[in-house]
C-alpha cells in the first residue's frame, strides 16, 4: 500500500514511517503542510495520514483543498489536542477517520487498513456473509449454518461492524466509536463484555470460531486460514 504521511514531529513521523514500512507499506513523508499538499495533489496514494496541526498550512486546510480538487483517497487525520471539536471539524472538512495522539501503532495500522480496504459496495450490501454466518441488514436477522441467532440491538450492530470489516483487525477504540458512539475510553470492559456475549451466541455451538482476538490490537472476524 502506498501511504502519504504529512507530519511535522520528526519522532512521530520516523516511528510511524518505520512501523508502516515494516508492515510492507510504501511511505512518503513530508514534514511541512505546503510540500505535503503538493504531494497529495499528485495523487496515487492509497491512504493519506495528515496531522491536524502543521507549520505553514493547517492539516484541515490540506484536506479541504484536496477534497475540493476531487481527490478520493481516504484521509486519516491525526489530532494532538484533547480537542473536543477536532473530530467534528475534521470529518466536516472531508477526513474519513481521525486518531488522537498519542496512539498505539496497532491502532493506526488497524485504521489505515480499515480505510484502505473499505469495499465501496459492502456499505450498501443488504446481506453480509462470512463463511456460514449471514447477517441481513434489512430484515435485521442473523443466521449461522441456517440456524437463527437472536441478538440484542447492540450485539447486532457489533456483529455488523465486525462483518463489514471481516478479515481486518478492528481495535477496541474503533468498536467504541462506531458501535456505541463512545468517543472516550470507558473504565469498564464494555467492549470485552459485549464481544464475549456475541461469541457465546455466534461461536460457542459451532465447530469453527469466527471472532478472533488479536493480541495487543483488537478483534478480527473471519474464517481461519
Amino acid at each position: 500500500m502506498k501511504i502519504l504521511l504529512i507530519e511535522d514531529d520528526a519522532q512521530t513521523s520516523a516511528y510511524v514511517a518505520k512501523g508502516l514500512r515494516e508492515h510492507g507499506h510504501v511511505v512518503e513523508h513530508s514534514p511541512s503542510g505546503r510540500d505535503g499538499l503538493l504531494l497529495a495533489s499528485g495523487g496515487g496514494y492509497d491512504v493519506m495520514v495528515i496531522d491536524r496541526m502543521l507549520p505553514g498550512l493547517d492539516g484541515l486546510a490540506i484536506v479541504k483543498t484536496i477534497r475540493a480538487a476531487g481527490a478520493r483517497a481516504p484521509v486519516l487525520l491525526l489530532t494532538t489536542l484533547g480537542g473536543v471539536n477536532d473530530r467534528v471539524e475534521g470529518l466536516e472538512a472531508g477526513a474519513d477517520d481521525y486518531l488522537t495522539k498519542p496512539f498505539a501503532f496497532a491502532e493506526l495500522l488497524a485504521r489505515i487498513n480499515a480505510l484502505a480496504r473499505r469495499p465501496p459496495m459492502a456499505e450498501e450490501a443488504a446481506v453480509l456473509r462470512v463463511g456460514d454466518l449471514e447477517l441481513d441488514r434489512l430484515k435485521r436477522t442473523v443466521t449461522r449454518g441456517g440456524k437463527r441467532i437472536e441478538l440484542q440491538p447492540q450485539e447486532f450492530r457489533l456483529l455488523e461492524y465486525l462483518m463489514r470489516h471481516a478479515g481486518q483487525v478492528v481495535t477496541r477504540t474503533m468498536l467504541l466509536e462506531n458501535v456505541w458512539e463512545f468517543h472516550f475510553d470507558p473504565h469498564t470492559s464494555v467492549v470485552e463484555t459485549h464481544i464475549s456475549r456475541l461469541r457465546a451466541k455466534v461461536d460457542r455451538e459451532f465447530a469453527e470460531e469466527l471472532i478472533h482476538t488479536v493480541r495487543g490490537s483488537g478483534y478480527s472476524l473471519g474464517v481461519s486460514r
Binding site: 516511528y15 498519542p102 463512545f182 470507558p186 473504565h187 464494555v190
Partner: protein
C-alpha cells in the same frame, strides 16, 4: 430584597433607630431652650411695657396734675379692649379716683396679681376670658397718699406660649418623622447595596467568577468597599486563570514527550525478551494512564470554556440514556450487579450528544466500579415540573454527606476508592458537562447508597417541536 423581618434585625435598622432617638432628643432639648428663652423674653417685654406705661402716667401727673392723669386713665380704660390693661388711681383714704380695678392696699414695685383676687365682689368679676389671666402690675406712690397701679394681663404671653408649645410639638413630631423616613431611605439604600454584595458573592460561590459588585460611582465608603472587593475578585480570578492555564499547559506540553516515550516503548516491545516485554507492557499501561488523565483534564477545561456550546443540536436524552444503559447492562451483570433503566418520555433538549453520552457513561460506571456485587443500580429519566431529570441511584455503600461536595473536585477520590483505577476526574467531568447544559448536579442519600440527580433546564416549548433549530 430583604424581608421585613430581616429589615428589623438588620444593622441598618438598629442604626436608624439610634439615629431617630438621638436626633429627636437633641431637637427636643433645642426646643426646650427656645421655649424658656422665649418665655423669659415675653415676660420681660410685658414688664417693660407696664413700666413704660407707668412712667408715662407718673410723668403726666407730675407735669400736668391730677386731672390730666385721670383723663388719660379714663380714656385708656374706655378704649382698651384685650390685650387688656388694668389701671387704678386711689387717694390716701384708699378710695378709687380712676381706673378699672377695685381699690387695694398700696404696694410699690412690680408684682404679679391674680385678677380674681382683685375683685372682692364676685359680681364685678370680669367676663372676658382674657381677664382670668394673672396680671403683671407696677405700683407707684405718687405722694400725698395717692397710689397708681398699672397692670397688664399675661393673656398675650400665655397665648404666645401656647402657640410656641404647639409649634414645637408639631416641629418635634415632623422632625422625628423626617428622621425616620430619611433614616429608612438611607438604611434601605445601605441594605440594598449590602444585598448586592451578598448576591455577587453568592453567584461567585456558585462558580460564576466573572461576577462583580456594582459600583454606584458616588465614591462613598460602600463604593470603596465594592471597588476593593472587585479588585480582590479580579486578582483571585487572574490567579485561578493562570493556575488553570499552567495546569493545562503542563498537560498539553507533557503529552508530546509522553507520546514519544510511548512510541519508544512500543518500538522496543518484542526485542528485549519475555521479561523485558512484561516491563514494557506495564510501562505502557502507566504511560496510558498518565495520558488519559491529561486528556481528561484538557477535555474538562475545554468543556468549561463553553466553546462546545456552539455545536449544540437537538438531541434525545432518552436515546442517550437507553443506549448507554444498554451498553453497560451486561457489564454490571457480569459483576453480579443489577442495572435497570426506567425511562419516561421527555422533550428533546439542546445539547451535545457526545458529551452527554460520556456524562451518562461516567455516572453509570461510578456505581459499577465502586459498588460490590449484588447491588441495584437504577437509571431513571423523567419529567419533573417541566424539567428532564436524570437519576442514577445505587444501593451500594454511598458517600458520607461531608464528602459529597468534594467528589466534584478534580482529582478528589474517596479514601475507599484509592485502590481502584481511575483518574479522579469522572465526576468533575460530569459537573462540567452538566454546567455546560445549564443542568444542576445533586448528590443525595439513597438509603442505602448514593443517588446522583441531574436536573436539566426545562426546554423552551416551541423549540422542542422545531426539527431544525437555528443554532
Amino acid at each position: 430584597m430583604a424581608s421585613p423581618g430581616s429589615f428589623l434585625r438588620s444593622t441598618s435598622f438598629r442604626l436608624l433607630a439610634w439615629y431617630a432617638v438621638v436626633f429627636g432628643a437633641s431637637v427636643a432639648v433645642l426646643f426646650v431652650i427656645v421655649y424658656l428663652i422665649t418665655l423669659a423674653a415675653l415676660d420681660e417685654q410685658l414688664s417693660d411695657s407696664v413700666e413704660r406705661e407707668t412712667e408715662v402716667l407718673v410723668e403726666l401727673y407730675r407735669t400736668r396734675g391730677l386731672d390730666s392723669i385721670v383723663r388719660a386713665i379714663e380714656l385708656r380704660t374706655a378704649e382698651l379692649r384685650p390685650p387688656r390693661r388694668y389701671y387704678l388711681l386711689q387717694d390716701a383714704a384708699g378710695k378709687r379716683i380712676a381706673g378699672n380695678l377695685p381699690p387695694m392696699k398700696p404696694v410699690e414695685g412690680e408684682r404679679v396679681l391674680p385678677v380674681r383676687s382683685l375683685f372682692a365682689d364676685p359680681a364685678s368679676k370680669p367676663d372676658d376670658p382674657a381677664d382670668s389671666h394673672p396680671v403683671v402690675a407696677q405700683g407707684r406712690d405718687l405722694g400725698n397718699g395717692r397710689f397708681l397701679l398699672v397692670g397688664e394681663s399675661r393673656y398675650r404671653a400665655v397665648k404666645a406660649r401656647e402657640a410656641i408649645v404647639r409649634a414645637l410639638a408639631w416641629g418635634i413630631a415632623i422632625t422625628v418623622l423626617l428622621a425616620a423616613a430619611g433614616g429608612a431611605a438611607l438604611g434601605r439604600g445601605f441594605l440594598r447595596r449590602i444585598e448586592e454584595i451578598n448576591r455577587t458573592t453568592r453567584s461567585i460561590m456558585d462558580g460564576d467568577l466573572a461576577q462583580r459588585v456594582p459600583v454606584s460611582g458616588g465614591g462613598d465608603e460602600m463604593d470603596r468597599l465594592a471597588v476593593n472587593l472587585n479588585a480582590m475578585l479580579d486578582r483571585i480570578q487572574a490567579l485561578m486563570e493562570s493556575l488553570k492555564r499552567v495546569s493545562d499547559d503542563i498537560a498539553h506540553d507533557l503529552r508530546t514527550p509522553l507520546s514519544r516515550l510511548r512510541h519508544r516503548l512500543e518500538a522496543a516491545r518484542g526485542r528485549t525478551g519475555p521479561h523485558g516485554d512484561v516491563v514494557i507492557e506495564q510501562s505502557l499501561a502507566e504511560v496510558d494512564a498518565i495520558l488519559e488523565t491529561f486528556s481528561a483534564l484538557l477535555r474538562i477545561s475545554q468543556i468549561e470554556s463553553g466553546a462546545r456550546r456552539a455545536g449544540f443540536s437537538e438531541i434525545s436524552l432518552e436515546r442517550v440514556v437507553s443506549d448507554v444503559g444498554e451498553a453497560y447492562a451486561p457489564v454490571a451483570e457480569d459483576r453480579g450487579q443489577r442495572l435497570k433503566t426506567v425511562l419516561t418520555g421527555v422533550p428533546l433538549i439542546q445539547g451535545d450528544r457526545e458529551l452527554l453520552t460520556q456524562m451518562v457513561a461516567n455516572l453509570i460506571e461510578n456505581p459499577i466500579r465502586h459498588c460490590p456485587a449484588d447491588v441495584d443500580i437504577i437509571i431513571g429519566l423523567a419529567l419533573e415540573g417541566g424539567s428532564p431529570v436524570l437519576r442514577v441511584a445505587d444501593t451500594g455503600p454511598g458517600i458520607p454527606a461531608l464528602e459529597r461536595e468534594k467528589v466534584f473536585r478534580r482529582y478528589y477520590r474517596l479514601e475507599a476508592s484509592r485502590t481502584t483505577p481511575g483518574s479522579g476526574l469522572g465526576l468533575a467531568l460530569v459537573k462540567a458537562v452538566a454546567d455546560l447544559h445549564g443542568a444542576s448536579v445533586e448528590l443525595s442519600d439513597n438509603n442505602p447508597g448514593l443517588c446522583v440527580t441531574i436536573r436539566f433546564p426545562a426546554p423552551a416549548a416551541p423549540q422542542a417541536r422545531i426539527p431544525h433549530s437555528r443554532r
